[in-house]
Amino acid sequence: MDSFKVVLEGPAPWGFRLQGGKDFNVPLSISRLTPGGKAAQAGVAVGDWVLSIDGENAGSLTHIEAQNKIRACGERLSLGLSRAQPVQSK
């Protein structure tokens, strides 16, 4: 499974590009990292799948919903990530 959590200390920017979403039929993933950014420092890698945002399951979120959720975490961002592609919920 190798899922893991990262907690990034705010404020934004977090230093990563989010890709995917339910509306795109692709699970949320990290498509790009700002070198030396907070996400990169916390050990996030390109291609990591996002399982949860702030504890909430990210599998059912559209792109914009996920985006909004991440934005809503001001001081601290908690992401649940996995190296293996999660099973998509239809």
Binding site: Q19, N25, P27, S31, I64, N68, R71
Partner: protein
């Protein structure tokens, strides 16, 4: 020479020769001391007379009266007690001389050496009346006959006499006899002598030394009066003469010696006699004593032996004990003294014999029957008898003890046995087995076995009882009659018990056998009835079994089974009948042996009635089943027909669909020709398919029938309705999709401006890398494809691309996705940046946009859409109502930088 020991008072060294020599001197002188002559004359005369008076004669004148020798011979005869030769009675001188000679010869024959008057001449002197010669001769006689034989302590004659005087006067202090002259002058010597022997005659203490004459006279007086010793001395002469005549003194003193010693001798003799007599008397006494004791003892033995030989037995132990006690008493109290007596007797006998022997008497010979051997013999017999008696007593006691013990034992054993045997006969006569079950009978048999072994164990005891009774008889028990009676009763009863036991055993065994037989039958019945019952139940079940069959074969097999079953019925019936027979058998046995038990079968709950009813039921069910089966068979046939029908159709439809699918697939893969052509073809296909639908419907109809008939399988076709349906639907969707695909391709082509050739190129590439030729590429195919096109991709990039071409993660890349990907690179597409740029223009270069701006620039719907979806802008320079168009835009493309 007589040597005198020193310490003796007197020094006496005379010997015969010496004073004879002295006399010779006097003879030579022919002189005699006148005093002495006087004394001698008096004394000797008196002395001779003291002897001659025994012969009835006297002498007056010593020199005259002996001249004829007659009185001399007489004197000698009197003194010696011997007869001299007959004197000559003549008066002639030679007669006288002859007589004197006879006298002197006699004296000489007595061992006296007559030195001075041996010669003839001297004898003549005597005849002639020579005083000196006569006195000398008398003195010789006196010496020889009165003094010579004196023996005192081995001292003889003169010395002996002197010793005697000294001994006898030793206790008198004032008397000291040393000689025969001066020592006698005071007269105390004589008195002492008298007093010594006869204290009753003289009171010595009153005597006085100073009255010698008186003393002498007194002594002579007493001697004459009491001792028969004539006076021979003259007191004045003795006293007045300085040295009295020794011979006269000696003569007179010798008379004393003879008187006392004689008395002593007499006394000694008397003593000896008394001793001897006493010994004799003692011996006689002992002999008498012996005889008496012997008699008594023998008498006692004689009395006792019969008592010891008495063998009359007593009846009781007590009596015997008493006898034993008596015997003990005898041994402890009565016999020991007798033993003592016997011992004493023996001692006495021995003592007596010894005494007799040492006193020189003949041995004692006890009278007849009282001899030592007799006593010993009798004693031995006594002891034998004793031993025998004791033995007998002990044996008797033992015997009685044994008898009593045996009798007691008998009583005990008999009692024990009688107690045991009591009631046993009753028990054995019970008929409790007649209404008992098999287990009960078996239990009774066990009990009986136990009883039998108990009985056997008691056999011993009965035998013992009989043996004891026998022994009591042999030992002559006094109450043997009762014992025998009881013994007999016991034995009789024993025999009866034996018989009854045997009978009971037989009855029990017989009963057991019968019950066993019945039990066996019951068991048999149970063993067979149960399976038969089960079989019937099973049969009933089977016959009523609801069956569901789906094929003719199935129903056929059921029918066959049923036929087979029917075939077994006769056999079953046979079994039924045998089972019934068993039951009948049981009934019969019970009946005929009149056994009082229930005939119910403990092993089986199945009854005959049950069996009967079930059998009937089975018989009933068979034809019913027949019928059902036949009906089913018909039904199955009908179903089969339906199946065939369906199959026929399906077998046609299936392939047709398959065919069409292939056609469509082929069409979509082909490269040559325009998309429009493809489209037309596909449309054609579509049309065909639509027309074909009737067949499907028809099939559906048949399928319904089949399902209504509950037919679930169809081996005539591999196609199920579902298959066909699915296939049909797939066909429909495939054709639609394919058409759609083509449409899309047309759109894409038009949108992206791809020429047909490009399309064909894409197609060719795709087909080339579609290894499996299924219209799809997997990831490896795609990667290979990319590489072939010159893309040098890292993992991450490839992954990203994969997400684009295979957004659903299906692992495949469709032709459409492929084209999209390929054309993306070359097409002029709207990107998120362009959209953001567009929004910025609308937002007048602000990093955010306001709602009113959106409403102003965009159509209402889109504006509302944007307003609704745009997040609030929270960047620098934010104002209320600011919307983040950048986030929104990137989100539209599925990408946002955060």
């Amino acid at each position: 020479m007589n040597q005198i020991e020193p310490g003796v008072q007197y020094n006496y060294v005379y010997d015969e020769d010496e004073y004879m020599i002295q006399e010779e001197e006097w003879d030579r002188d022919l002189l005699l001391d006148p005093a002495w002559e006087k004394q001698q004359r008096k004394t000797f005369t008196a002395w001779c007379n003291s002897h001659l008076r025994k012969a009835g004669t006297q002498i007056e004148n010593i020199e005259e009266d002996f001249r004829n020798g007659l009185k001399l011979m007489l004197l000698l005869e009197v003194i010696s007690g011997e007869r001299l030769p007959k004197p000559d009675r003549g008066k002639m001188r030679f007669h006288k001389i002859a007589n004197v000679n006879k006298a002197l010869d006699y004296i000489a024959s007595k061992g006296v050496k007559l030195v001075s008057i041996g010669a003839e001449g001297e004898r003549c002197e005597i005849v002639d009346g020579n005083v000196k010669m006569t006195l000398g001769m008398i003195w010789t006689i006196i010496l020889r006959f009165a003094i010579q034989d004196i023996s005192v302590e081995e001292t003889s004659a003169k010395e002996g006499l002197l010793l005697w005087c000294q001994r006898k006067t030793a206790p008198y202090r004032n008397v000291n006899i040393q000689n025969f002259h001066t020592s006698w002058k005071d007269g105390l010597g004589l008195c002492a002598l008298i007093h010594r022997h006869r204290p009753d005659l003289i009171d010595y203490s009153k005597l006085n030394k100073d009255d010698p004459i008186g003393n002498i006279n007194l002594a002579m007086e007493i001697a004459e009066k009491h001792l028969d010793i004539p006076k021979m001395l003259d007191a004045e002469d003795i006293v007045n003469t300085p040295k009295p005549d020794e011979r006269a003194i000696m003569t007179y003193v010798s008379c004393f010696y003879h008187a006392f010693a004689g008395a002593e001798q007499a006394e000694t003799a008397a003593n000896r006699i008394c001793k001897v007599l006493a010994v004799n008397q003692e011996n006689e006494r002992l002999m008498e004593e012996y005889e008496r004791l012997a008699s008594e003892l023998l008498e006692w033995i004689r009395r006792t032996i019969p008592w010891l030989e008495n063998r009359t037995p007593e009846k009781t132990m007590q009596a015997m004990q008493k006898k034993l006690e008596d015997f003990r008493d005898y041994r402890r109290k009565h016999k020991p003294p007798k033993v003592q007596e016997k011992c004493q007797l023996e001692i006495n006998f021995n003592t007596l014999q010894t005494k007799l022997r040492i006193s020189n008497r003949p041995a004692f010979m006890p009278s007849e029957g009282k001899m030592v051997s007799d006593i010993a013999g009798a004693w031995q017999r006594l002891e034998q008898a004793e031993k025998g008696y004791e033995e007998w007593l002990l044996n008797e006691i033992r015997r009685l003890e044994r008898l009593e013990h045996l009798a007691e034992k008998f009583r005990q054993k008999a009692s024990t046995h009688e107690t045991w045997a009591y009631g046993k006969e009753q028990i054995l006569l019970q008929k409790d087995y007649e209404s008992a079950s098999l287990t009960e009978v078996r239990a009774l048999l066990r009990k009986h076995e136990a009883f039998e072994s108990d009985l056997a164990a008691h056999q011993d005891r009965v035998e013992q009882i009989a043996a004891i009774a026998q022994e009591l008889n042999e030992l002559d028990y006094h109450d043997a009659v009762n014992v025998n009676d009881r013994c007999q009763k016991i034995c009789d009863q024993w025999d009866r018990l034996g018989t009854l036991t045997q009978k009971r055993r037989e009855a029990l065994e017989r009963m057991e056998k019968l019950l066993e037989t019945i039990d066996q039958l019951h068991l048999e019945f149970a063993k067979r009835a149960a399976p038969f019952n089960n079989w019937m139940e099973g049969a009933m079940e089977d016959l009523q079994d609801m069956f569901i069959v789906h094929s003719i074969e199935e129903i056929q097999s059921l029918i066959t089974a049923h036929e087979q079953f029917k075939a077994t019925l006769p056999e079953a019936d046979g079994e039924r009948q045998s089972i019934m027979a068993i039951q009948n058998e049981v009934e019969k046995v019970i009946q005929s042996y009149n056994i009082r038990i229930s005939s119910s079968n403990p092993y089986s709950t199945v009854t005959m009635d049950e069996l009967r009813t079930k059998w009937d039921k089975v018989k009933q069910l068979v034809p019913i089943r027949d019928q059902s089966l036949q009906e089913e068979l018909a039904r199955q046939h009908a179903n089969e027909r339906l199946r065939r029908q369906f199959a026929a159709q399906a077998n046609a439809i299936g392939p047709w669909i398959q065919n069409k699918m292939e056609e469509i697939a082929r069409s979509s893969i082909q490269i040559t020709g325009a998309l429009e052509d493809q489209m037309n073809q596909l449309k054609q296909y579509e049309h065909n398919i639509i027309n074909y639908k009737n067949n499907i419907d028809k099939l559906e109809g048949d399928h319904q029938l089949i399902q209504e008939a509950l037919v679930f399988d169809n081996k005539h076709t591999n196609y199920t309705m579902e298959h066909i349906r699915v296939g049909w639907e797939l066909l429909l969707t495939t054709i639609a999709r394919t058409i759609n695909e083509v449409e899309t391709q047309i759109l894409t082509r038009d949108a992206k401006g791809i020429t047909q050739e490009q399309m064909n190129e894409f197609r060719a590439s795709f087909n080339h890398f579609d290894r499996r030729k299924n219209g799809l590429m997997d990831h490896e195919d795609f990667r290979a494809c990319l590489i072939s096109m010159g893309y040098d991709l890292g993992e991450a990039e490839f992954a990203r691309i994969m997400t684009l071409v295979d957004p659903n993660g299906q692992g495949t890349v469709t032709f459409q996705s492929f084209i999209d990907f390929m054309t993306r690179e070359t097409a002029d597409t709207d990107t998120a940046e362009q959209v953001i740029a567009s929004f910025r223009i609308l937002a007048s270069d602000k990093p955010y946009i306001l709602a009113e701006e959106l409403r102003r620039e965009l159509p209402p719907d889109q504006a509302q859409y944007c307003i609704k979806r745009m997040p609030a802008y929270s960047g620098p320079g934010s104002v209320p109502g600011a919307l983040d168009y950048a986030a929104f835009s990137s989100a539209l493309y599925g990408e946002s930088d955060l």
